[in-house]
Structure formats: C-alpha cells, structure tokens
Amino acid sequence: MNYVKEIEHADIVHRCFRCGYCKFPSDYVDFNCPAYQSFQWDTFAPGGRMWLTRAWLLGEIKSSARFAQIMFSCATCDNCKEQCVFPRFKDYLPDIFQEVRAQLVEEGVVPPLVRDYFKALSLSGNPYRRPQEERGDWAKGSIKIETFNGQEYLFYIGCVGSFDEVGQRLARSVARVLTGAGVSIGILGPEETCDGNDVKAMGEMGLFQALVEENVRKFEKRGVKKIITLDPHAYNAFKKDYPRQKGFFEVYHYVEILARLLKENKLKLGEWPKKITYHDPCYLGRHNGIYEAPRFILKNIGKSEIVEMRRSGVNAFCCGGGGGNFFTDILGSHEYSPARVRIREARATGAQVVATACPLCTKMLLEAARAEGYEDMEILGLTEIIERATFSREKQ
C-alpha cells in the first residue's frame, strides 16, 4: 500500500467498515463514545478516526490542527474495542489511535494544551506545574501515613491525587481507611514520580519511557514489591506497561484490597441509608475487568440501596477524563459533554450519591453536577462512603 506515513498497525487500518457499532454500548441505548457524544461529527467517532487515519497514511489528509484535535479528543475509554464487530482487529483500535498520536507528537502537531501538559510534566514532573517538593503535601495534617520504608505495600497516589483538591481528598480518605484496616502501606510523597499512563495514551513515548525507567529504578531501589494505587490510570500502567520494561510488581487498586479485607472479615462497614449508584471508571472496568469488587463493597454498606445507571459495567459511559482530556479539556463542558451526560444519567437513577473509584472521574462528575445544578448530589470515593458509614455507627 502506498502509505506516506508509518504506524505499527498500519496494515489493518483499511479494514474498518465505519459501521458505527463502536459508537454504541452493547444494547444501543445511547451514544457511548465520549468524543462522538461531545462533537457529534462522524469524524470524531472511532470509525471516523480510522478512516481519517487511512487518509492521513495515504497523504490525502495532512497532520493539521483539526486532525490533531480529532485524534486527541479520544478519551481512551476502550468502548470501541469492546463493541467493534470485527473480531480480528477490534483489539487494536485504541492502539492505532495512540500510534497516530505518537506520530503527531513527533511531528510537533498537537493541540496547545497537550503540548502544555507534556511541558509541565517534563519540567515539573506533574501537569499542575507545582514543585516536586509539594507532591506529598496532601498527606500533611490530619492523617498519619508513613513514608515507604519496606512496608508491605507502596501506596501510589499519582499526579491528580497529589495535587488536585478533590484528588487529595480521596487520597487522604483511602489512606485513612487502609491504615485503619491494618494494611501496611507507605507513600513516596515528594519522591513520587508520575506513572505516565496518560503520557503514553497521548503519545509522548520518549517522556513515557523516561518516567517508567525512573519509577522502576525507584521502586526497585526501595524494595517495592507490592503496590496499591489510588488511581486506575496508574493501576493500568503498572499492570500492563511496566512489565514490558521489566518492572514487575504485584499491583492492586485499593478496591481490590478492600474487597478482600471485607471477605476475610477484617473490615467492618457501618450503615448509611442512601441511594447510591456506582460509576465504573474506564481504566478499572473496561481496561482491567474490575467490576464486582467495588459493588461488593457498596452492597455491604448497611441500609444503603445500590442502583445501577442505565449504562454500567462493560457498557459504562466514560466521564471524559481519560486520554489527557482531564487536562486538555478537548471534550468541553457543554450540555453534550460526556461528564454532563453521565451525571444526568446518574441523576435519572434517583441516587443521592455517585460512588467513584477514580480521582479523575470524581472531579469530572463533580464539576458536571455543579454545571447541571445538582447541588444536593454527592460525588464520593468508595472510602469516603465507607467513612461516612462507619462514622454513623460510631455516633450511635
């Protein structure tokens, strides 16, 4: 084929039928591709990206700002991979988009906020452009958590948990609940380095490589064997990408630890009579198949009523925070933006609380709830719900 550009999976790009199954969840109830939902041009749907990629490989489309916008609008939610009806190449769809992004990064054609993200990470080690020394500040104050020094688990926070107000709130809550349950954890604090998951998703492979190497070196030097992550994005990177760079660790997301503690009767949950709905984070759910553990935890909160959103589990609609959109905001915050669509879906269940297991989802949905005027709706991490429940019991 006369392709003028090269990507690893160029040989399958032409096989897309642009049928659009990728736009939907498995029962077609509503559009399930966050970029397509937000922009509603076929070009922003996975089939559109595939066909444009082919045009770009052929030289019929240039590496333009618009093309970059289309490619970087992908939230890497994996719905297309799940729904594509072509078994022989469905698994490569997200890879292809990532490869194009990597090529665009090499060519220097990226949306400005994407460039800013990379720059901030390179210079400050985090997208917030805050000093590295402040990375452990979330842990100061009311919680008591040790620096990692041979504990059973490294509790890994990630950039959002370290610097975002909402993320920090979640980090503290998880730390409290884990230590309260007797789990031996330590943090790296100011020594922590970004996991790189979203850097890779956005295609800055050089930076990603550097981050992985630095983390692997750091972890090995400190004798880290097991990791609990706050953030499903970090979970994904440590679990899937790090082994390829010889970073072999036992990786857990905190919901897995909590679910196990619950099963072993080492964690007792109180009561909280609320209607709760759980939002599946893409990097915990579709990417890594963890659907039951968080639900198991919630079902054990006494007096609570757990309701599912119309699209849940493998069909969950992405909050729009992945693929760097948490920082680049390509998907916007208008009426049809994914987070607002999702929060309306949560509202429709009648739930008073949306339970989350990802700091990015939490922040995205919180801002969406505000935009929709849902003042009475709470967006809480699972451990925050656990803390509410325990607190009620102690009050008695």
């Binding site: 084929m1 032409h14 096989r15 897309c16 039928f17 642009r18 049928c19 659009g20 199954y21 736009k23 939907f24 029962d27 077609y28 109830v29 509503d30 922009f39 509603q40 041009w41 076929d42 070009t43 559109g48 066909w51 444009l52 082919r54 045009a55 019929e60 489309i61 240039k62 333009s64 618009r66 093309f67 289309i70 009806v85 072509f86 078994p87 022989r88 190449f89 119309r310």
Partner: protein, 459 residues
C-alpha cells in the same frame, strides 16, 4: 463561500458547520465501491426549522443538498455528486412520541435504529419495530426513504410500508405534514384515506425533500423468539418451499442464504425461519407446523433441518452483528451488495447468477434473500466482499455488481437503493409514461434541482 458559511453558522451555530478538510474528506464518501466527491460544507441541524432555513439558503444560492443518515446504504446515495452541503441528520435524534395502543412511534429524521430498539426494550417491551440487520447506527428515516426492510418485512412489507406519517421539508423550503398528521395530532396513517402523498418521498433517495419526522408502526413483541434452518442443495425447490412456508401465515422473518465459507455451508442453500410466541407451547407448536409443512422434502431427502444450537444466540440477536463481519472476510473492510426486489419464482436463476458472477470476476460472494409481505416478492442480495487496499478487487466488485443489476432489470426485477448509475439503467428500462411522470414530479417538487442532484436523472 465565506458568505454561505456565515449564513450557515447563523442558522445552526459554529459547532454544526464544518468546511474542514477532515469532515469534507470523510463525508465525501461511503464504505461502498463508488468514488468520492467532496462537499463544500457539512452541516448538522438539530431542528426542522434549521433544516428549513438551510433549504431556503440552498435554493437562494442553488447549492446542492444531500441529506444523510449513517451512510450505510453502500450505494453512494450520500455521496455529494455535485458538491454542495451534506446534511448529517443524526443530531435530530429524539424519540418524540410512542402511542402504545395505536402501536406507533414518532421519531426525528436522524433517530437511529438502535436507540429506538433500546427505548422500546426499556419502556415498551411488548412492542417492537421492524429492525434491519444494518448496523444500529443507521437511521429510521433513511431506511424508510429507500424502502429498506427489516425483521418484520416478511409479515408486514417494506419498512416504508410501515410509515404512519411524515414531516418533510420540501426542496422549496416548506414544512409539510404528510398523512394523518396533516389533519390532526395522530400519526396513524401515511396516506389512506387521503390522496397518498407519502409516495412522493419514499424511494426518491433524497431528491424530493428532507424527512424531519417519521411515524412508524410498532408491532407486538413476543416473549420468545426461535429459529429453524432448513437446508437444501436444490435451489429450484426453493420457490415451492417458500410458498409452503408462507402459507402458514404465522412466521416472522424468512431469509434464504448461501455462501461458500465456512465450509459447512458450501453447496447448500439455507432457509432461516424465525417464529415467535408468548409461551413454550405456542413456539413448539409453530415449530412442529414448520416441520410438517416441509415433510415432503424431508421424505425425498431433498431437504432437512440442520442443528441451529451452535448458531442460535447469534441468529436471534437483533441486529445480527455478524452480518457486518462479511466485510472483513478478505481482510479488507468492505462489502457491497446489489439487492433487487424480485419475484420469488426467479430465485434459482438469481442464485445461479451469483455463482456465475463470482467466478467471472474472481470475487468473494455471499447471498441473502429476504421475503417480503408473506411471499409476494423477495429482496435477493448479491454480495461481494473486497479489500479496500486492493483497487483491482474493488473495480471487479463494482463491475460484478453492475452486471448483477443489469441482470435484475432484464429479469423484470427492481434494483433496490440503486446507485446513480443503476438509476439511469432503471430509467432507461422504465415505461416511458411512467418515467415522464417521475421526472415531472421531481421537477415540480425541486424546480432548482438542488436535492441530491445526480440521482434520478436520465443524463
């Protein structure tokens, strides 16, 4: 051009107009074999009023207008042959009303098949619509506009026969209600007992107006759906088998298909019979009736029922996701089919033609036919798969399809959703007074010739 863009933006907003190379490239083509033609703009309206204003603008500037759903007809009907504005109707995707006891639904011009199915499953599980096996992203309006078919076509006719009313924006910009909606708030009839104007918009492939609302019949949705496949290696028996089956008057969908791969299907013709019921007894009884009806063929060993269990879950799926998979057989992302509407008695001849064309043009074939209206006709599809990266293969498929359409016309069939070349073939063959009437109607409705030009034209 700048002025037109400004005007469009003022109608629909900047996020609904694009003249970017990316959108223009994408909307210039469809997944079939025809070549691309670039539009000047792609516009995605949300309301009928927006559509109206766009049409008025198009008349003013004499810009072609090409309405599209998801573009999966595959015969290039959404390709802007003369440039202009492609109207992506999919942002008009609401479900406006379900009248449960009247068994109809009213949707917008861009509402997708899948969304309607999910909505009915959630809110009216005892009602269903005639769902095609096309991907669920295809729209209801586009499907009826080109006389599409679906799961209930064998029982109730073309999906266009199931229309219960229309709202259209005429090519001259008027918003027009068609059928019972023109008299009152109920959408139960597309024409009768008035002079039936719906015929001016169904089958015209977007050349006589833009459908902005469509009423559609809903049908009882039974609890259980079951399937049997009858297999014969003698295609000449098929018309009689179908005649016997349709005599039962109690079957849902009947499709007849053959393909060389997987190997277990080679050399045989398969008749898939779907039937429904609310109880096990009903379904079992229907199954027995089906077997009894075809007993003579089993006795002569000319035909028998195969074991469907391994395939059942796939067959019962609606839409059948596996249909799209044929596109990947040559590892190349495409297939296109010619699906003329033909008398059932011609089945053996069409079946032979498929094999002949596949050999002549060295292309990968499949065929699936569907009965219409209890056996008054069938849609016979001649389908060829191609590798999009193999220009030679695409050319051969195109030629094979053209020959298939020629054959259909020679046999007195009607090419279905014909591409612009096939349309000319049809017009050439058509009875002259009929053609005259067709052209007169088109001219009357679209005096400026802006609606999907290049289609339903003689030259």
């Amino acid at each position: 051009m700048g002025e037109i863009k400004e005007r469009l933006i003022s109608i629909v907003g900047a996020d609904a107009v694009s003249a970017e190379p990316e959108e223009l490239w994408f909307y210039a083509r469809d997944p079939g074999v025809l070549e691309a033609h670039f539009p000047d703009f792609v516009v995605a309206p949300r309301t009928t009023e927006e559509v109206q204003k766009i049409v008025q603008l198009a008349n003013e500037y004499k810009i072609p207008l090409v309405p599209m759903g998801n573009g999966m007809a595959l015969t290039g009907l959404v390709i802007p042959l003369r440039g202009g504005i492609v109207l992506d109707m999919k942002r008009m995707n609401r479900i406006l009303e379900v009248n449960e006891k009247g068994r109809y639904v009213v949707v917008e011009g861009g509402t997708s098949q899948g969304v309607l199915k999910a909505y009915l499953d959630d809110h009216y599980p005892h009602l269903r619509h005639s769902l095609p096996d096309a991907p669920p992203t295809t729209t209801i309006a586009a499907n009826v506009a080109l006389h599409g078919q679906g799961r209930l076509t064998q029982q109730y006719g073309f999906n266009s026969d199931m229309v219960t009313g229309l709202e259209v924006v005429l090519p001259t910009g008027e918003i027009c209600l068609i059928g019972s909606p023109s008299l009152g708030p109920y959408w139960f009839s597309k024409g009768p007992a008035l002079p039936d104007l719906s015929g001016l918009f169904l089958g015209w492939l977007g050349t006589t107006g833009i459908i902005t609302k469509v009423g559609l019949r809903l049908y009882p949705n039974k609890r259980i759906r079951d399937v049997e496949i009858f297999v014969t290696d003698r295609p000449e028996l098929i018309p009689d088998i179908l005649f016997d089956l349709t005599h039962l008057e109690m079957l849902e969908d009947i499709t007849v298909w053959f393909q060389p791969k997987p190997l277990m299907f080679l050399g045989n013709y398969h008749i898939t019979v779907f039937f429904t019921g609310d109880t096990e007894e009903e379904v079992t009884w229907k199954k027995r009736m089906i077997w009894d009806t075809l007993e003579t063929y089993m006795k002569t060993k000319d035909g028998g029922f195969m074991n469907v269990d391994p395939m059942k879950s796939q067959l019962i799926q609606m839409p059948q996701r596996g249909v799209a998979e044929f596109a990947d057989v040559p590892r190349g992302g495409g297939f296109e089919y010619s699906g003329p509407i033909v008398p059932i008695e011609h089945y053996p001849k069409y079946a032979a033609k498929v094999l002949e064309l596949a050999e002549k043009y060295d292309v990968l074939y499949a065929s699936a036919a569907r009965l219409i209206s209890g056996g008054h006709a069938m849609m016979f599809s001649i389908s060829f798969a191609f590798n999009r990266n193999d220009a030679g293969m695409m050319k051969r498929v195109k030629e094979a399809l053209e020959e298939a359409t020629n054959f259909a016309l020679e046999m007195g069939g009607i090419p279905w959703k014909p591409n612009f070349v096939e349309q000319k073939m049809i017009l050439k063959q058509m009875h002259p007074e009929t053609k005259k009437l067709l052209m007169a109607v088109k001219k009357l409705l679209d005096p400026n010739g802006i609606m999907n030009p290049g289609n339903w034209e003689e030259n």
